[in-house]
């Protein structure tokens, strides 16, 4: 019964989504307040029905209803309840429903938090989101229905893929999808603005918090995916430039460019056409990512089971949504006109450089990801493009962007004087260079690449410190506390997010420069030493789990030269009962300055095992940096100016002025 109700809820949601789109667009076009007024309620209704459908599917999983095909294929009665719940989105069908739920949530959020925005604009925004919902609901109902029944019901399920039976599975997809889908709000704002013919600083101010929120979630989602890969796959790697990883990274790059471009549009009213294009591109990349992962055009460790029919449907959907929006852009953007002027050295030009570099980096990732497809489609051969390519191309592109990131916040709008910039930043520059040159000696060996990476990170931090110092020194308030309160949250957010980038760069540079590993065979009683730590393999024992049986290894860790065991690590090799698949569970001791990481390979003759031991210095700074970026973004969108209440309309004169060439 419940699955049928869930399916029915989806059908109702589809009908409501159609109404949401239709009434909104007709209402906005004709100016009929009655029609426009319905958009919020219809959108809320659509959200509630999608939520109901999702609840129905989740219920089927948690209650282990094996008359539902999806539950049979991806769950098992011995699975712990939280993984049964997470299995709701462990399949293509389920994750599409999660996408649609997120879309509903964001739509509902827009309906609730937009009272202070112009009626027509909000109506169009909800209308655009309604169109996207229609696409997804149709896709689910026509090709990917999670509520298909199995009659007679199976006795037991085939179990969730062991790789997914992990806390990461509970957190990573919801965060990621919230981010992906969140960009649909910025997208909708862009289309609405184009249709309205109104693209000004106010519009940028309205869409900025939504965009930043989506970006925060996407940052956290990608970060979680990376952490999960690190501890789950057993090889100590955290980023593989896998097509699906790239599919999430491309919208992130576009989103980062977008939040910076919006800053310019909000403050100075320039870059309007470019910002709108970026907003369209960011969400389009989310959709293209969906296509790449589910259509089978690229091989990936992440790819869902593919079906050409689905691929065609999604492609059609892409054509309508992206093609349509780019057509609207081509049609309406020319009227936007040129914005204000600015000097070659100014905050605008630095942010423009930021955008150019991010856009080129984005294009490079896209090129690398799709190139094998391009060649194969043209029958020009079959190649692979992997980490060696991306590393070689991406870092040279991002390095200048990071360098400029330190300078941008210090430069003034419209015109900045180079001598003034130098005056403000020379100490930061000097300290960064000296420290960067000396620091590698502390860690071990010296190399120009390591020194360069350290310098970039230190430069950003030093410039940030200099900026905060100078701001406080020059502030008119008396007393430190007053000065702290006087600065806006968005300013703090920016500083913290930039420091997050610096922390990320530190982590990557140090880990790549100084990590070591041992890949060897160990029998019980044998020792191996790595980076001053002594690992002793004590042997293994059997350990049953809820739906698996494990062999657990025991390792005693001492500091080299000491006899005292300060740490024990327990890597496991799990065999899952239902599927028979085996899984390595690494054992990690995280730390501020290093991770110690042990995983079991294959058993060999006697009691010996293949063992991998890793020393990963500063690896947690990579994700700490991502967390700081997200925190900074969150602070920025909490800024007071987004919460000011206001009346419905702006003076007509300003709108007309903004659109004239």
């Amino acid at each position: 019964m419940i699955p049928e109700l869930g399916h029915f809820a989806l059908v109702v949601a589809l009908a409501l989504a159609v109404a949401q789109a239709a009434f909104s667009f007709i209402g906005a076009h004709t100016g009929r307040r009655a029609l426009m007024g319905t958009s919020r309620s219809i959108a809320t209704g659509q959200f509630l029905f999608v939520a109901a459908a999702f609840a129905a599917l989740a219920y089927s999983f948690v209650s282990s209803d094996f008359s539902v095909v999806n539950v049979v294929q991806h769950s098992n009665s011995k699975l712990p309840w939280y993984y049964r719940f997470a299995a709701t989105w462990g399949s293509h069908e389920g994750s599409m429903l999660l996408w649609t739920l997120m879309l509903g949530i964001w739509t509902f959020a827009v309906a609730v938090f937009s009272r202070h925005l112009p009626e027509r604009l909000v109506t169009r925004v909800i209308g655009v989101m309604g169109l996207v919902s229609v696409g997804f609901l149709l896709f689910i109902l026509l090709t990917s229905d999670p509520f298909e029944r199995l009659i007679p019901a199976a006795a037991e399920g085939q179990d969730l893929n062991p790789l997914l039976q992990d806390p990461g599975m509970v957190a990573h997809p919801p965060m990621l999808y919230t981010g992906y889908v969140g960009f649909s709000v910025a997208f909708a704002f862009a289309i609405a603005a184009l249709l309205e013919g109104r693209l000004d600083a106010a519009w940028a101010r309205w869409s900025r918090p939504w965009t930043t929120a989506a970006w925060c979630f996407l940052t956290v989602g990608i970060m979680m995916g990376s952490i999960w890969a690190y501890y789950e796959l057993g090889w100590g790697g955290w980023w593989f430039w896998d097509p699906v990883e790239n599919a999430s990274f491309m919208p992130w790059l576009a989103g980062t460019a977008l939040i910076h471009s919006l800053a310019v549009t909000e403050k100075r009213g320039t870059f309007r056409a470019w910002t709108v294009l970026l907003a369209i591109v960011a969400f389009s990349l989310s959709l293209v990512g969906t296509f790449l992962v589910r259509s089978g055009v690229l091989t990936s460790v992440h790819a869902f089971a593919t079906d050409p029919r689905r691929g065609i449907f999604i492609l059609l959907f892409l054509v309508i949504v992206i093609g349509g929006s780019l057509a609207v852009f081509a049609w309406r953007a020319p009227r936007v006109g040129l914005g204000a002027s600015f000097a070659p050295v100014s905050r605008e030009s630095l942010l423009l450089a930021n955008n150019v570099l991010l856009a080129v980096a984005l294009a490079a990732v896209m090129l690398g990801t799709l190139y094998p497809l391009f060649l194969d489609a043209l029958h020009l051969g079959k190649i692979s493009v992997g980490p060696p390519y991306f590393d070689a191309v991406f870092f040279p592109l991002m390095a200048p962007a990071v360098f400029l990131m330190a300078i941008g916040p210090v430069a003034s709008w419209k015109r900045a004087a180079l001598p003034d910039l130098w005056l403000r930043l020379r100490w930061a520059f000097g300290i960064a260079i000296v420290t960067a040159v000396l620091l590698p000696f502390v860690f071990g060996h010296w190399s120009p690449v390591i020194a360069f990476g350290l310098w970039l990170g230190l430069w950003v931090v030093a410039a940030g410190v200099a900026q905060v110092w100078q701001r406080f020194a020059g502030a008119p308030q008396r007393g430190f506390a007053a000065k702290v309160r006087a600065q806006s949250l968005s300013w703090y957010g920016m500083q913290i997010a930039h420091v997050g980038v610096a922390a990320f760069i530190f982590g990557v540079t140090i880990v790549k420069g100084y990590e070591t590993e041992r890949d060897l065979r160990m029998a019980p009683g044998q020792h191996t030493t790595i980076a001053g730590y002594d690992f002793e393999f004590k042997g293994t024992r059997d350990l049953p789990g809820p739906n698996y049986s494990a062999i657990e290894g025991e390792f005693d860790v001492r500091h080299e030269g000491s006899t005292q065991v300060f740490l024990q690590l327990h890597p496991q090799k799990r065999t899952y009962a239902a599927s028979g698949q085996t899984q390595t569970e690494a054992s990690i001791d995280p730390g501020l300055t290093r991770d110690l990481y042990v995983s079991l390979g294959e058993p060999v003759e006697g009691n010996a095992w293949g063992v991998r031991v890793y020393y990963k210095p500063f690896v947690d700074w990579i994700w700490g940096g991502c967390a700081l970026m997200a925190l900074g973004g969150f602070l920025a969108l909490s800024d007071r100016r987004y919460r000011l209440k206001r009346a419905a309309t702006e003076p007509a004169g300003a709108a007309a002025q903004a659109m004239r060439p």
């Binding site: 055009v297 081509a330 497809l373």
Partner: protein, 177 residues
């Protein structure tokens, strides 16, 4: 006018991308084409599966158009194509030489007696080294080799009736002159 062109660029780029995606849907990204096409078949000398005292090398097939079919007793997909091969051997259209890849001699022979033996003979590649030389990455795979010992076609995965009718048999006919 220039303005409109400039704003239309994203749309045009997207259209090109969609074109590639559409073609991409018809391609198989997992398939690895062989770089050995139109190159001489790598030489080897292996014992025969049925008689360890006798050896086989591709040179023995010079002057004939023949198929080299890579199979194994542990390979499930091989059972799918095997009836076709048995059928082919009955009609004597083209000699088929088997390459028993990473198998146990006993298991291989048992498998042939159970499922039928379409092969002129089977070479026994227990270590898989010859497989590597031929770029084998998934069993079954089949090579069409001409009278001069040059590889002319590689079938990745089981031979289907369609592949047989549309590619392999016409090619064999053509190579036979």
């Amino acid at each position: 006018m220039m303005k409109f062109v400039k704003f239309g660029v994203p749309f045009v780029l997207f259209a090109i991308l969609v074109g590639f995606f559409a073609v991409g849907l018809t391609r198989d990204p997992r398939e690895v084409p062989s770089p050995l096409i139109d190159k001489p078949a790598p030489q080897f000398q292996l014992t025969r599966l049925e008689s360890p005292d006798h050896e086989f090398s591709p040179e023995q097939m010079r002057g004939k158009v023949w198929l080299l079919n890579v199979w194994a007793s542990w390979c499930v997909s091989c059972r799918v194509e095997h009836p076709l091969l048995v059928q082919m051997s009955k009609t004597q259209q083209v000699p088929i030489v088997g390459l028993d890849y990473k198998d146990q001699r006993v298991d291989g022979m048992k498998w042939l007696s159970t499922h039928g033996d379409p092969y002129v003979l089977s070479a026994f590649d227990d270590e898989g080294k010859v497989g590597i030389d031929y770029g084998v990455y998934g069993v079954p795979e089949t090579f069409v080799i001409d009278k001069q010992g040059v590889i002319r076609y590689k079938q990745i995965g089981p031979i289907t009736q369609e592949a047989l009718d549309r590619k392999i048999l016409p090619l064999v006919k053509k190579l036979n002159g």
